[in-house]
């Protein structure tokens, strides 16, 4: 029940005491206090106001006890002496934005940005984050401590970026949200293929950001992309836990409400006339969700959209995806030509999807020996277990 208030509470207290680490610990303590008091004394009229007020006192107590950051303390004391707004006041949305922009600052280690956002913004415990990223808890704890220390020592300001920096900083934030989702959607190397809780967190973040920044089409585009992708969650795994390819999924198991919302948001974002990579990816996802059967998919449109996406993300992965779309609309030979031009890229060598895509095209061209070699190359890269099971099956069905 505290997670709904976590983001706002950590943001408000960080603003008041000037230190993310102290604020976060204090909010944690306030939640523990609430757990002890509320059942007996009743839930306060404004749980959020209560948590912020209690955390603030705890944070100031700690700063006073540690006799540190004398200036901050004095500043905070002055604020404390000032009249307080009525109970139930909510933290300004600027503080909430400032918090996520701080956690996703490009001067922080990328892996730390994701962890810090899940901890400070989403309120996941360090143990939960460590489990999600398959690292030992002390490793994750150390990563988070180091990131918070850098924020303090390097003078990373707790505020919404200046207008001229906003575009670049926003793209760093969206990247983190996207990484949280993909980590949940296809857990690299993990036994579980879909970690629903991470997908839910990413969608929650994207939703909140859309509400905070309604005029930013890429934010809306990202939310649309995540909804359209997550709508297929139940259809992506067979009852045995095996991966089911898009073409073979039972489309009646797709979440219609999520698709409708995603399509509406994608359209709304694109109408603002400022396209970007997330909006284009949402449009691609909408091409799939709009097709009644796999055979109805508009692969021409998808190939065109991937061609657009390459302009924003000139990566071999995007080129490989475009090759698959071209193969679907113009035939496997045309797709294979594109795929073979990008497969020399070192960045793709360790990407099982490339080999899987090649294998599928070679299969359709009847080049069986080469197809088997490509499947084997994919298996050798040790994709997640359910994907491995799929490949083993695929290699033997002709």
């Amino acid at each position: 029940m505290f997670r709904a208030h976590w983001w706002a509470a950590v943001a408000a207290v960080t603003r008041q005491v000037g230190d993310l680490e102290v604020a976060e610990d204090a909010v944690q303590d306030a939640c523990a206090a609430a757990l002890a008091q509320w059942p007996a004394e009743g839930v306060p009229a404004s749980p959020r106001g209560w948590l912020i007020g209690t955390a603030r006192h705890k944070a100031l107590d700690r700063l006073r006890r540690e006799h540190r950051r004398a200036d901050k303390e004095a500043e905070a004391m002055r604020e404390e002496a000032a009249p307080q707004p009525a109970a139930g006041w909510a933290a300004g949305t600027d503080d909430e934005l400032a918090l996520i922009f701080t956690c996703c600052h490009p001067a922080l280690d990328p892996a730390a940005r994701v962890g810090l956002t899940l901890r400070s913004v989403c309120g996941l415990t360090t143990a939960e984050i460590a489990a999600a990223f398959l690292v030992p808890e002390p490793t994750m704890a150390q990563r988070l401590v180091r990131a918070k220390r850098k924020i303090r020592q390097a003078g990373i300001a707790f505020r919404v970026p200046r207008r001229e920096d906003l575009a670049a900083r926003l793209s760093a934030v969206l990247r983190v949200v996207y990484l949280v989702f993909t980590e949940g959607h296809l857990a690299a190397g993990g036994g579980m293929l879909i970690r629903g809780d991470l997908c839910d967190q990413a969608i929650r973040l994207a939703r909140a950001l859309t509400a905070l920044l309604p005029g930013e089409p890429e934010v809306t585009g990202l939310l649309a992309l995540l909804l359209l992708t997550d709508a297929r969650r139940d259809a992506r795994l067979s009852p045995a836990g095996d991966l089911v390819l898009l073409a073979e999924q039972d489309r009646s198991r797709w979440d219609r409400a999520m698709i409708d919302e995603g399509e509406a948001l994608a359209g709304q974002a694109l109408r603002l006339g400022r396209p970007g990579p997330y909006q284009i990816q949402a449009a691609i996802a909408a091409c799939h969700s709009g097709a009644a059967t796999a055979a109805d998919t508009d692969w021409r449109e998808i190939a065109l959209l991937y061609g657009e996406l390459i302009r924003y993300e000139p990566s071999p992965m995007v080129a490989a995806n475009r090759a698959v779309a071209v193969a679907m609309s113009e035939g496997p030979a045309a797709g294979l030509v594109i795929l073979d031009t990008v497969s020399g890229d070192a960045r793709l060598a360790r990407w099982p999807q490339l080999h899987i895509a090649r294998a599928e095209l070679l299969r359709r061209l009847g080049r069986r020996a080469e197809a088997v070699a490509a499947y084997e190359a994919a298996v050798a890269l040790e994709p997640p277990a359910p994907e491995r099971a799929y490949l083993a099956r695929r290699m033997h069905e002709w």
Binding site: H105, A107, Q153, A154, G155, I156, A157, P161, R162, D165
Partner: protein
Amino acid sequence: MKYLFLLYGRPDEQLPRPGTEEFDRMRAEWGAATGAMAQAGVLLDCAPLQPPAAATTLSVRDGETLLTDGPAAEIKEHFGGYTLVECADLDEALKWAATLPVAQVGKVEVRPVVQVVAPAEQPAR
């Protein structure tokens, strides 16, 4: 907050000789970058350094001073100069660091400076 920009150039970089057109252009580029910092009131100090070969690295172990010829670490780029600025926060410091010509070819490390208060200046508790 004070930030020190450590300027790392390429070790093979041949600086132009005084009197050449390239030298004048280099001076003009650096003058423009640091001039803008001074104009904005963020520049505290800046200077180029003699080459790494002129460096002596010192350490004291068990009361004994050890000297080694050359820079502290063998790295691809060499530490060629510094710029000291006073900025509101990291974002502002990064913005100024990016205006330095060396950022185009080498690297700029942005390091926050710890404010050390001399004992006499410490406010009475």
